[in-house]
Symmetry: C2
Subunit: 350 residues, 2 copies
Amino acid sequence: MQKLQPKIKDVAHVAGVSTATVSRALTQPERLSESTREKVFDAIRATGYRVNKAARNLRTRRAGAVLVLVPNLGNPFFSTILSSINEVLAANGYSVLVFDSQQPSAPGQVVSDYLLNGSVDGLITLDGNISIALGETLKNAQMLGNVVFCCEWSDSLPLPSIRSDNALGARLAVDHLFALGHRRIAHVTGPEDNILAQVRRSAFEIRCAELGLIIAPEWIIPGDFSLTSGARAAEQLVAMPERPTAVFCASDEIALSLISRCKQNGLSIPQDLSVVGFDDLEIAGFVQPSLTTIRQDRTGLGRLAAEELITRLNSAQSKETSRIILAPVELIKRDTTATASKEQARNILA
Amino acid sequence: MQKLQPKIKDVAHVAGVSTATVSRALTQPERLSESTREKVFDAIRATGYRVNKAARNLRTRRAGAVLVLVPNLGNPFFSTILSSINEVLAANGYSVLVFDSQQPSAPGQVVSDYLLNGSVDGLITLDGNISIALGETLKNAQMLGNVVFCCEWSDSLPLPSIRSDNALGARLAVDHLFALGHRRIAHVTGPEDNILAQVRRSAFEIRCAELGLIIAPEWIIPGDFSLTSGARAAEQLVAMPERPTAVFCASDEIALSLISRCKQNGLSIPQDLSVVGFDDLEIAGFVQPSLTTIRQDRTGLGRLAAEELITRLNSAQSKETSRIILAPVELIKRDTTATASKEQARNILA
DNA sequence: GAAGCTCTTGTAATCGATTACATCACGATT
DNA sequence: AATCGTGATGTAATCGATTACAAGAGCTTC
C-alpha cells in the first residue's frame, strides 16, 4: 500500500531543493544546472510524482484541453474527424473533451459552461448550429477567438472555418455524370437548414444550369444525410413517371441506402441509375457495386482544424477573423456510375 | 468590453455576503436561508459568474471528468457506444475525455497520466489491451477501482466488465445456420490476440461440435474485424475447392466486405453462401441484401458501463471486483441467410 | 577592488474555489 | 434566568502547483 499521491513538496524534499526548482525542472528544465536537474528528475522518478493538473491549471489559467462539439457521435463521418483532431491535439499536449450536441441537455449552455468555467481553452465545433446567443456570450467573455468550425460554419459568426470545397464537390459530381451522357440528374439533399447542404444543392443547380440541363422540381428530393432518408428518396425516385437517369446524393449514407432500396425495387445500378455520393466513407469502397463518390479529406479536415485552433490559442491577440480554409475534394470513380445508354442520353426533358 | 471573469469574491461583494455563503449557495443551497439564497443567485446572474473548474477541482480533489479509451475512434461500432457513454455521464455532471489508443503516443503512459494527475476521476476502456504494468501503476495509486471495461476485458485484471454475451451470439449464429440446413460453416475471426474474438471463435467451434458439424481447418479464416480483412477472407473462400455453404463473421464490417467481394467473384448471396455478421451496425439494415447479424446493444453497453463507473466513483470503498455484466445479444434475421439447397445440405464432409 | 552581469536557486505570494471551525442570534428547556 | 441546541453566516486555512522578486555566487571589466 502506497501513500497518497506525492506532491511537489515531497519531490523537493527528496531532491533537497525548493519547490520552485522542482517546478522549473518540469516547465523550463534548461534554466537549471545539469546537476540539480538530474537530482530533481531522480527524485521525481523515485517518488512517482505527477503534476496535479488542477493546481497547475488554476495557477496558469489554462486548461490544456479542447472541447469538440459533435452532432451525432455515432456517425462514422464525424468520428474519423474526431480521431484526427485527437491525434493533433494530443501531440500538442492538449486533452480532448467531446460533447454530442444531439443530446437532451441544451448544447449551447453546455458549451458556454465549458468555455467560461475554464474546463477547456478552446472549441472545435463540427456542428454549425451555434446560436447567436452563444456567440454573444463567448464574445463578451473574449472567448470567441478560441472557437473554430470544422466542416460546418455559420454566416452570422466571424469564426474561422475549415471545410471541404462543397461547391466544387457538387460540380465534380455533375460534370462526371454529364460526361457519361446523363442529362436528367436528380439530387437528394441534406437537411434544409444545413448551410453545407445548401451549398451542395445550389452548386448542383447552378452547374446543371450552366450545362443546359433542366431539373424537374421533383428531382430535388429532400433528405437529411441519413440512411433512412436515402431509402425514402429511393421510393420517391422509383415512383417517378419521368425517372432521372442519375442521382447525386448529399452524403454516402444517403447514396448507399438509396442504392439498396432501388435494387429492392428491381432497378440495376448503375445500368438503370447512376449514383454519386459525397464523403467517401470507408465502406463506400467495400460495397457491391462500389460507390462513386466525392471524397472529403476527413483526416485533413480534423488536422487543419486542430492546427488552426492551436495557432490561435498560442497567439495572444484575439483575432476574430472569419478565415476560411478549404480542404480539397476529389471525385472517386467507382462502379455506381456508368455511361448513359442511348435511350437514357436522348431522354431530355422538353 | 467586459472585465475578466468574475470570481466568487465579486459575487460575494455584490450580494453583500461572504465567499463561504456564495460557495454554499452553489453546492448546498438548502443550508442557506431563502432570503440570502436569493440574494446570492441574483448576484450570480448579475455578474455572469461561473465557478472556476480548476479551483474547485483542486480543492475537492475531484475532476468531474472521465476518460474513455477507444481503439480506433473512426469505427462506427465504438463511436455509438461513446455517444451513449457521453449521454449518461453528462447527465451525471461528468465531462468526457476521449483518447484514441491507436495513436502513436504510448497509450498506457497517457492513460496513467490522466488518472494520476487528476485530469479524470475514472476510466472506461473499450480497449482490452491494458498492460499489466499499467494495472500495477493504477493499483498502487489506488485507482484500479475507478476503471471499467466496456465490450472488452482482461483476464489478468480484476476489473468490472460490461460486455455482450459473445458466446451466446456465436451459438445463435450457428444454430440459425444449422436450422436452415447448413452443415459446412466457416468462420472469419477477429484479431488473434483479441479476447473477445477468441470467445466468439471458440463458442463457434464448440457449438459446431455439439451439433456434430465438422470444421475443416481452412474454414477458420483469420481476420481482424476490418473491412479489408473481410475482402481478403472472401478471396480465400471463393478459392476453396470444398467451399462452405455459410460463414459466420466476427464483425459486420467483415461480413459486408466479404459479401461484396464474393459477389464480385460471381457468387450469389444468400443462394451460394449464407452470411451472418456480428454487431448490427446501422448500415447492416440498409444494404442489399440486408445483413443477417447478431445485434449487440451498443447503447446499452455504453450506458451500463457509464452507470457502473459512476456507482464506483460514488462509493468510497475501492472494490476491485471483476464483476461481469452481460448485455443481451439477439439474432437479427435479414436477407443474407437462406435455406440450404439440397445439394448444399447433403454436402457433408466425410 | 568595486560595480555590474549572468546564472542558479530560494522565499513567499498567488490562482479561486471549498470547508473546518468559530460566532452569533434565537427559541426551547429546566 | 441560565443553559443549551440549532441554524445561518463569517473567518481563515487549505488544495498543489507557478512565478515575481530577491539573493548569493562567480566572472568580467575598468
